[in-house]
Symmetry: C2
Subunit: 283 residues, 2 copies
């Protein structure tokens, strides 16, 4: 197993990749009006940080139940937070209002080609470093990371399979891809707080074409995988990251992927995107 | 600040350096009788692992209140545990009895030149990678790591200062070096469970000649430094590791070291040995 440690990225998650690409793709005229986004946390910090690098204003809409550590990070990077109700509708409405009032450019967390292209660089780098990977696993929420992972991995090696990993309690990507119709996640009380969003038309279209499957995991499996990473790899990951390792820790979890190499003689080589490491410790 | 992440070492701490050097220094005749040691945990796992690499038996005396995660690690590496009372006397007596019964060679956790030379390689590597360090900080318990750090760091760069860091609640090294007489630590209820041993004649002699000071930290400072490392650096360290960062997080903590470079224009460059990352998570 080969781990891409996006928890060690600037701002503590892969989100800085897409945010930087989107914000530095703006014309000077667009950039001058600032940017706005809505996010439960990691995209928020990334947009605030990348906007700071470009020297422009960032308005961040966050649900009022967002973890305090993620709010503090946004403020530390110079972002201006507006709190909203913890629903998809309230997020979008609040961001739209700010957009209208200020003229700021919306930097959507995943329904944006520049964001997807940015997130794709994680898998691209991983495949450049470990060219022969049989599969790459990444968590899926809105699908920005997973669709980017499909493009980044298969762009390097067409034989590499890509699997999304999703909590059973927030299984909209699984349902969308199984039914062929974009499904919404209405409620989602999973410990993986970064995986509560639903696919967007853009990410759904990429995943329908390229992803090789979505693997569902239980809350218990998420906690056990997270504990395994903390105790054995000595790196701090957030629950959403552990979702991408959890399916491999089951008995028969690796052979269930149906990879070319999976015998005892020729072991499969699997990449796992550890998406972020932003957690708040109580002590 | 430059961190030497010994938590990422094999067996999760710097102890594997000394254990490997000691065990691979044995003659075939000595090695054939196996090794014995006493340790609260990290040295135990290291000796079990290095003995496994050499293919010889390892008997490990552990206090019966040692963390379960450390006992499991010793067993996983093939070590044979004998539990003793959690006192220095009981440890030494139990190990001596096994030594007599089996003829095994004692691999002392720190009062051994081969162990000290092995631990010295951590600072040596750090100085090779970052040659201009003004200071290196390491935790001190029995003094194997700290005396090795003095030799390894000053062997690379005589200008580099070396400081030991110690919990106020287990301050025997501070008292020994201040008084000039080797002091014992009678009781030590610090959260830094790896730092409860006392200096030995061999480590005391090296430290008297080479160490530039011992910095004491409170339990609160240890917890805060550990939280800082977990949350901001995203690596898992045990409390003993955090002891070496804690003095630098105080207001004025860096200038208190009295380093050559410590102005705003020319900032000091400080190395910190994060000694290990073996913790047991409750979740």
């Amino acid at each position: 197993m080969f781990f891409k440690c996006e928890n060690l990225q600037k701002t503590g998650s892969f989100k800085i990749r897409g945010a930087t690409n989107a914000i530095f793709s703006l014309s000077d005229g667009e950039a001058g009006r600032g940017v706005v986004t809505h996010s439960s946390g990691n995209h928020a910090a990334a947009v605030a940080c990348a906007a700071g690098w470009r020297g422009i204003a960032a308005s961040i809409v966050m649900p009022k139940n967002a973890p305090a550590v993620k709010c503090r990070a946004v403020e530390a990077y110079g972002g201006k937070i507006t709190f909203c109700e913890p629903t998809v509708t309230s997020r979008a409405e609040t961001a739209a209002r700010i957009q209208q009032e200020t003229g700021a450019v919306m930097v959507h967390p995943y329904d944006d080609d520049r964001i997807i292209a940015g997130q794709a660089t994680a898998a691209k780098e991983l495949l450049e470093e470990v060219p022969g990977l049989d599969a790459v696993l990444a968590p899926v929420s809105g699908g920005g990371l997973l669709s980017g992972t499909c493009l980044g991995a298969k762009g390097q090696n067409r034989q590499t399979k890509v699997f999304g990993c999703e909590p059973e309690r927030a299984d909209d990507a699984y349902r969308s891809l199984t039914s062929g119709v974009l499904q919404k996640q209405e409620s989602s009380d999973t410990i993986a707080d970064g995986l509560r969003a639903s696919l967007a038309p853009r990410t759904f279209a990429i995943l329908r074409e390229h992803v090789d499957g979505v693997l569902l995991v239980t809350e218990q499996e998420i906690v056990e995988a997270m504990k395994r990473v903390w105790e054995h790899m000595k790196v701090v990951v957030e629950p959403s990251s552990a979702v991408a390792l959890a399916p491999l820790l089951r008995p028969g979890g690796i052979s269930a992927l149906g990879l070319r190499r999976s015998s005892a003689e020729e072991k499969s080589r699997i990449g796992i995107i550890l998406s972020g490491g932003n957690v708040e410790l109580k002590c």
